[in-house]
Symmetry: C2
Subunit: 281 residues, 2 copies
């Protein structure tokens, strides 16, 4: 497994892979791998001959009051895990390599970014769209793999790829969960025992939503109310948002119809967790 | 010469050119060709094996009160002229092909776009950066050719290409002028005889600037004043801006030093003309 710190190094790696006729896959990550990341890498290995994992905590997608400094990092452990899965190259650049002095260009997806996490995290998706554009231009992958856990991010990237005629095929990979249903996240390590015991309520409330829809409930206000109540009645859980919106346009709905997403963000102390579930009726 | 109306058609053409080991050049234009465009195409022919000319009047870079509707068009004449020069393919998409319903992603270069034409034409460079990003992603050229006449546009594109790690090498081609010094522009056809006779004052004032600098004048206020006076004393010429700024950062200066640009925009009736000259001391 090759470890590349500069744009030139990873470009050289990819140039060679292409010359060898290989299909190149990219898995963009911020590191501190868990089973969710490894699942993305395994998916990439299935359909690509050369898998590049970018490991970069992108400052551009963190707000001034967010957890950029504390964000968990363990480069050696990450490399070992990626190597286990058979990743071919890690691209882990320094900030000066990605955003040298004078950097002043940004990619902005409008509309769907003005909902959900876009409201609680202004500028977040601009940072995501900009770094993913750079990674796509640097690596030029045939396929890029993203997790369904960051559902809005996935929609933003699909919108961007379509609008700007970007090359890579976007592959979405289902959420990987702990045994008790908590969606895997690098931020779960922030949780204390009590918060960790309470956190599975996020998924339980989403399952209750799915079951209610399966039973025939269509009223969005009613369905949202059920989720809100389950969260609100959980000690230590502070709601950021709970929304039921259309997919992929994230429009408000009165009634559940077609493809819909129930998405939520909940804080436990200073730890903000997100989860979502998509239903189709 | 192949004429492509869809993204898929031009991609097929470029894929074949690449398969044949050809170097691909792109000349982005809005059509209504003059010697300036043809010079860009000839430059591209010199260093590329397959030259693609995009011919698209990009609505995204026109303001609501600007001349999008009146912008001169003559597709058949343009194709004949491009064929004469040996262009290999024309990419001339419809608006629905470039901006289908739901389009909502934009590329924004900050800083240098907040000067000169960026002030008189809000949103203009966002439209330019977005369409050029699309063209680069669609054609994936090895080299892209731009005219020095749109000096700020060239700086914006070079900034964008650097910041977002885009592939193409950017080649800048000097301004082509009429015998009396007027910079060639598709918009020159808007001028009536009187305005056309007056318009060369733009270049004369820039030459006077260059001579004054050559004589040792360094005071920007003084130099700018000379240009302003020549324009102001020309009947029918209405100044939009006259600026002397650093290159490539477009910073304000007290004294001319290093590489500087004198750039101006002047209206004759409803026709807005731009010109510029770069000096190095």
């Amino acid at each position: 497994m090759q470890i590349c710190r500069t744009v030139e190094e990873i470009r050289t790696f990819v140039r060679q892979a292409r010359a060898d006729g290989k299909i190149v896959g990219l898995v963009p990550t911020m590191g501190y791998f868990h089973e969710g990341h490894l699942t993305l890498m395994r998916e990439a290995k299935k359909s690509c001959d050369a898998v590049v994992v970018s490991l970069y905590v992108n400052p551009l997608q963190f707000g001034p009051k967010e957890d950029l400094a504390q964000y968990p990092r363990d480069f050696d452990r990450d490399c070992a895990m990626a190597w286990e899965v058979g990743v071919d190259a890690i691209f882990s650049p320094a900030d000066e390599e990605m955003y040298p002095a004078g950097f002043s260009t940004f990619v902005e997806v409008t509309g769907i970014t003005e909902k959900l996490c876009g409201l609680s995290r202004p500028g977040h998706f601009r940072g995501v769209a900009t770094v993913v554009t750079k990674l796509f231009n640097i690596v030029r992958p045939d396929r890029a793999f993203f997790g369904q856990k960051d559902a809005q991010q996935a929609m933003v990237i699909e919108r961007m790829v379509t609008d700007l005629n970007m090359g890579p095929e976007i592959v979405l990979v289902p959420i990987v969960r702990e045994d008790d249903g908590l969606a895997m996240s690098s931020r779960n390590v922030y949780l204390n025992d009590e918060q960790r015991r309470a956190a599975p309520v996020l998924y339980r409330s989403l399952c209750a939503f799915r079951e209610a829809v399966a039973r025939g409930e269509r009223d969005v206000q009613e369905l949202r109310g059920q989720i809100v109540q389950m969260i609100a009645s959980t000690p230590g859980a502070e709601m950021d948002y709970v929304e039921i919106l259309s997919v992929p346009d994230l429009e408000q709905l009165d009634k559940v119809r077609g493809k819909c997403i129930a998405a939520l963000a909940v804080r436990f102390g200073r730890t903000r967790l997100i989860d979502n579930i998509i239903v189709e009726v």
